[in-house]
Amino acid sequence: MIADVLAGLTRIPGVRGVLIVSRDDGLVVADALMEGVDGAAIAALAASLAGRMRSVTMALGQPEPVMMHVAGAGGSLLAAPGRHGLLIVAVAAPDVNAGELRLGLLDAAGRAA
């Protein structure tokens, strides 16, 4: 099942890697990454960022975000909290179809584990 999630997301053109991350620990549970992508660093930093976003929304009295999208000049990082304390993270090139990737991530977050 995890392999299906990874395969489904990495098939989207422009996706450089997908990780399933333990949200509390920031450790990689499973990944499918292009060469040169530092999975451990992405996992740790994405989990930290997601945790801070969760803290912010809680402080605002809002529910937890269902999607985090950080866009930079060199690419994007998207993350969606899944079940069982997991976070689905995708690293993508600037020209990725963000809508398709977001839908895929939301679907994966509902399905993962």
Partner: protein, 153 residues
């Protein structure tokens, strides 16, 4: 933060800032303290250093008995704090790091920035000093000097 050698301070300060670790102890593989952050009593530092060095020595021996490569790190994860204990190579020989972290950070971040600390220390380390004989009359003075550097008294 206190360090016996000045070149350790900058990499350790960066690590503390980035990892949000509560307590950090750098020591040689024999348990001699090189730098510390977060401890307030000398006795606690010496105990933690001795215990940490003992744990890593046990894991190295365990790996040897199992016929595997030395285990690089040990993690004790509690409900409120975690302890990350890892070995790394420097031009001064094998050193150990003991990091206590809480819920404000994560094991992944500690691992990530500890790897950078190890690399920074390896780059910053001056060339090894020639070994010198430790004379009995120097020992107490050197010990007191080290304790002053680590605890400021």
């Amino acid at each position: 933060m206190r360090a016996l050698e000045a070149w350790v301070e900058e990499p350790l300060t960066t690590f503390l800032s980035e990892s949000a670790a509560r307590v950090t102890l750098l020591m040689t593989s024999s348990g001699q303290v090189v730098a510390q952050h977060g401890f307030t009593r000398a006795l606690d530092v010496m105990s933690a250093a001795a215990l940490g060095a003992g744990i890593m020595a046990s894991t190295f021996e365990l790996a040897r008995v199992m016929g595997s490569r030395p285990l690089g790190a040990v993690v004790h994860h509690g409900s409120s704090v975690g302890v990350y204990l890892a070995a790394f190579e420097t031009p001064r020989g094998r050193w150990l790091g003991l990091v206590v972290f809480g819920g404000e950070t994560s094991l992944g971040l500690v691992q990530l920035f500890f790897a950078r600390l190890a690399a920074d220390l390896a780059n910053a380390a001056p060339t090894a000093e020639p070994p010198r004989q430790v004379l009995a009359e120097d020992f107490e003075a050197e010990l007191n000097s080290s304790l002053r550097a680590l605890f400021g008294r």
